[in-house]
């Protein structure tokens, strides 16, 4: 059985201008000890999905539909108290921006110890001891536990955020763009650390990112999100070697390559749709080179390209054939 199974999750934000349809019926599952990459551009609904799992969707957002089954129990039908016991304990989150995720008037040691005191039945001294251990794991010496966040650099702050998330040995880690705010050399250090700790504690992870390079290095399976839907879903190999959805192809075409010399990039034309006013039919059709009448009217269901590899496109077979031709 999967550790986490999401079915038909729909999250909307009712506003004066209409419903912001951030997440529209996504289904995914995370296996024990594995990493799922959630990839997409700004506004695709990645972060909202993660917040939904923790039941932390900000006002006026509402989870309209779906189920989030964690270890056989639906998080959405739990009492608030139960969710609080899971949050930060069994499921924890690494936030994107380490500059704003920490409390500026609390020492980093206290922030890490706070989580331990809340969830683990232990004394203050015991919590202090564990706090020092976990800080050492992320490479911060005990002498810095009394420092405040502003005394740390960006990379060090992100380590503190990670320490807070790992303080109670979570079963599932939601990492929301954990390295986007960091420089590449620091990013390499942090990713290596996350992967080591993950292996050590047998933690599962949902890694939210827009960087396909990071996905290639750290994930086991990948979900590509566009306008609140998962448009392509499969193993690392399915997505990187047998790319099928036109949007995923466009994403790969947009990244300048370090290996090959291409004179011009092949970007996706147009812009992300407005989530208040999503296009009819397939959300991607206004930007898709393969789109026709049918795409504008009828939303495609997820087709199974090969076992476990899903793709939401009416014409995936055509796209597939065309791609194979181009690669020859």
């Amino acid at each position: 059985m999967s550790l986490l199974e999401i079915k038909d999750l729909t999250i909307h934000f009712p506003t004066e201008e209409g419903d912001v349809r951030a997440v529209n019926g996504i289904s995914l599952s995370v296996e024990e000890g594995k990493t799922l990459g959630l990839v997409g551009e700004t506004g695709a609904g990645k972060t909202t999905t993660a917040l939904g799992i923790l039941r932390l969707v900000p006002e006026p957002g509402e989870i309209e539909n779906g189920s989030i089954v964690y270890k056989g129990k639906d998080i959405l039908s739990m009492q608030e108290k139960e969710v609080q016991d899971i949050r930060g304990n069994e499921i924890s989150m690494i936030f994107q921006d380490p500059m704003t995720a920490l409390n500026p008037v609390m020492t980093v040691g206290d922030q890490v110890a706070e989580v331990i005191l809340r969830h683990q039945n232990c004394s203050k001294t015991e919590a202090q001891k564990r706090m020092v251990d976990i800080l050492a794991k992320v490479g911060i010496g005990a002498d810095r536990a009394g420092d405040y966040p502003h005394q740390f650099s960006g990379g060090m702050k992100q380590r503190v955020v990670i320490a807070t998330a790992l303080a109670c040995n979570p079963k599932l880690l939601l990492a929301d763009e954990p390295t986007t705010a960091l420089d590449v050399t620091i990013q390499a250090q942090v990713m290596e650390m996350i992967n080591e700790l993950k292996a050590e504690f047998q933690t599962s992870m949902i890694l939210i990112t827009h960087d396909l390079g990071i996905v290639a290095e750290s994930c086991d399976s990948v979900a590509i999100m566009y306008a609140g839907q998962i448009v392509e879903y499969g193993s690392l190999e399915d997505i990187f070697d047998h790319t099928t959805h036109p949007y995923t192809i466009g994403l790969f075409g947009s990244i300048p390559s370090l290996e090959k010399k291409v004179h011009r990039l092949q970007p996706i034309s147009g812009l992300m749709p407005d989530p208040v006013n999503l296009p009819t039919g397939c959300c991607f059709h206004p930007r898709c080179p393969y789109a026709d009448e049918r795409c504008a009217q009828e939303a495609p269901a997820a087709a199974e390209v090969s076992p476990g590899h899903l793709c939401r496109c009416h014409y995936w077979e055509t796209v597939r054939g065309k791609e194979a031709e181009d690669n020859v």
Partner: protein, 321 residues
């Protein structure tokens, strides 16, 4: 060379801070030929933006000299300033904060032309604005829209149109695509390349993104804490990086393919402070090969291979040259 557009010699820029002098740029040398792109790469705080600002004369340099079209413009006269600001333009990093929120698109694009007195009369200005909007791919229906109504990609197009409006020869692009999503980033990169081909523009392209810099540049300058560590032709840098920092930087980039098998050199430690730096090589604290000499003496930039410059005491030993 005769077609050198911009040349910078031993450029230094220090800022005064309460704790001492902040060495933002230290002894940088480069020249850019007409119609080429020089990529400037480095991590945050390495002085790449300061370098751009100093070249544009928005900040006065502390030492060294800048030559534009063979003329010394380090301390420009009023007349020279006028020429520089017309010939050198800048595209800023953040399309959200670099545009006046109270001006509409057509006013924003017309502003530099009015200031520089390029167009005469309202009609001519309007026509130029319309032309520029076509050039950068902004639909004319946005002429009276305000920046907050537009997304990052379109805002960045306004920034480009503003820079182009005075018909410059040289554009300093300061992280023009870092704030954009990949699909939009690719559109803007293609636009910049097209403009260069059509108009023979020269770019100085400042970024921290190595795959972007590889895609767009002819030559690359790698900076670390204000110092130039390596400079050479683009392909050469990716094929034979010489400096230990460049090697580490290149190996740190995650590659979007599952068939690449490579050894990552993880650099330990973090960037040290640029305020009153220690006398040695700036990279010594993080360099796995550093010895006594590296910690006491700042290495000079040397031409190690033809057209390949590097500042490292141990470069020959490490690369078996």
């Amino acid at each position: 060379m005769s077609d050198t557009l911009l040349e910078v010699k031993d450029l230094c820029k220090y800022y005064k801070t309460p704790k001492g002098a902040l060495h933002a740029v230290e002894g940088v040398n480069f020249s850019i030929r007409e119609g080429r792109t020089l990529g400037v790469v480095g991590e945050s705080g390495c002085g790449k933006s300061t370098l751009g600002w100093t070249v544009m004369n928005l900040h006065e340099s502390t030492g060294g000299s800048i030559f534009f079209q063979g003329e010394d413009v380090t301390h420009p006269t009023k007349a020279q300033k006028k020429v520089i600001h017309k010939s050198i333009q800048m595209i800023f990093q953040d399309p959200f904060s670099s545009l006046d929120p109270r001006k509409c698109v057509s006013d924003l694009i017309a502003e530099p032309m009015k200031v520089m007195k390029i167009t005469r009369g309202k009609k001519e200005t309007e026509q130029r604005v319309a032309e520029l909007m076509d050039t950068v791919g902004l639909a004319r229906r946005y002429a009276f829209a305000y920046p907050h109504e537009l997304d990052g990609g379109r805002r960045q197009r306004i920034g480009i149109a503003r820079a182009l409006s005075v018909e410059p020869r040289f554009i300093v692009c300061d992280e023009p695509v870092s704030a954009l999503d990949v699909s939009i980033q690719a559109q803007i990169l293609n636009l910049l390349q097209d403009l260069q081909e059509e108009r023979g523009l020269t770019y100085m392209f400042i970024t921290h993104n190595l795959s972007v810099v590889k895609h767009i540049s002819h030559d690359i300058l790698v900076m670390y804490l204000g110092c130039q560590v390596e400079k050479c032709e683009c392909e050469e840098l990716f094929r034979h990086p010489l400096h230990p920092y460049t090697k580490g930087l290149l190996s740190a980039i995650p590659i979007p393919s599952i068939h690449v098998d490579r050894k990552r050199i993880v650099m330990s430690g973090e960037v040290t402070s640029p305020i009153n730096p220690k006398p040695g090589c700036r990279f010594a604290a993080r360099c796995p090969y550093a010895d006594e000499r590296c910690r006491s003496e700042l290495p000079q930039v040397e031409e190690i291979l033809p057209d390949h410059f590097c500042a490292c005491h141990k470069v020959r030993e490490l690369n078996e040259l």
